[in-house]
């Protein structure tokens, strides 16, 4: 019974719902979510490659899906997740060298990842539309 009492009163490690949300915490979560999302994105890449390997008919189908509003929205979100995850990953690679772990740097890295990923994604799509002759 003494054990049961100990178990009941043992302090628990504070978890997500206890902490005030912070930017660096959100970036950590975003890195994981974008990584998981990219696993789904891998299916789209495999589908695209398989369609091309199978012939003009399947390619036309995959092209019309990616060209649709739903397809474009998905591709936009996946490209954003990819760029965000890549910039976040570069941030991790810098940390692995032991640099940039101080309080000021981590905030700068967090903002650089958000602003960088959003800017690059929009830029990428503008270039895409421009190459397609939209403007």
């Amino acid at each position: 019974m003494g054990n049961a009492k100990l178990r009941a009163e043992r302090p628990l490690s504070p978890h997500l719902q206890i902490y005030r949300p912070m930017l660096t915490m959100m970036m950590s979560i975003a890195h994981r979510i974008s990584g998981a999302a990219l696993a789904i994105g891998f299916i789209l890449l495999a589908w695209w490659l398989l369609a091309i390997s199978l012939g003009p008919e399947p390619y036309a189908q995959v092209s019309s899906f990616f060209g649709s509003l739903v397809g474009r929205t998905l591709l936009f979100l996946f490209s954003w997740a990819l760029i965000h995850h890549m910039l976040g990953g570069i941030r991790h690679l810098i940390w692995d060298t032991g640099h940039g772990l101080d309080k000021v740097s981590i905030e700068i890295f967090a903002w650089a990842t958000i602003i960088g990923s959003t800017t690059l994604t929009i830029l990428l799509w503008l270039v895409g539309y421009w190459l397609k002759g939209a403007f």
Binding site: R32, G35, A36, L38, A39, F42, I43, L45, A46, L49, L50, I52, S53, G55, P56, Y59, A60, S63, G67, S79, L82, M86, G89, I90, H92, L93, D96, L124, V127, G128, L131, K132
Partner: protein, 123 residues
């Protein structure tokens, strides 16, 4: 409790060390140029006719880069999925989750692999 040899190896009772960590970093570094290449390949071929896209992907160096990407990304993805599973999935469900993550990573990688080979070899 560790034997002198065990101390030198520094791997603990599991006899395994930092392979996943190191592999995650190696594939991360490889993924950066390979994914930039994929993005550029896609953006420069938006709305391109079938024959043109296929001819582009069939080039040996393009196929090589895409094959490297598929392998590297699948390894990176599986390590990431395993990390997520380790954090959130417990008990019997974890076994299922690990199987699914592994089959998924192998499945999308192999499907992409075969597709790239088929495109570049022209069968």
């Amino acid at each position: 409790m560790a034997t002198p040899l065990g101390k030198v190896r520094g791997l603990g009772a599991a006899h395994r060390g930092t392979e996943a960590f190191w592999r995650q970093r190696m594939t991360a570094v490889a993924n950066i140029p390979l994914l930039i290449f994929l993005i550029l390949s896609i953006v420069t071929h938006i709305g391109a006719p079938y024959a043109e896209v296929k001819a582009y992907l069939a080039q040996p160096l393009v196929a090589l880069a895409l094959l490297a990407l598929v392998v590297s990304a699948a390894i990176h993805m599986r390590i990431g999925l395993m990390e997520i599973i380790a954090d959130y999935v417990h008990g019997g469900a974890k076994v299922i989750a690990v199987l699914l993550a592994t089959f998924f990573a192998a499945g999308v990688a192999l499907a992409s692999f075969v597709a790239i080979l088929k495109i570049s070899l022209g069968y």
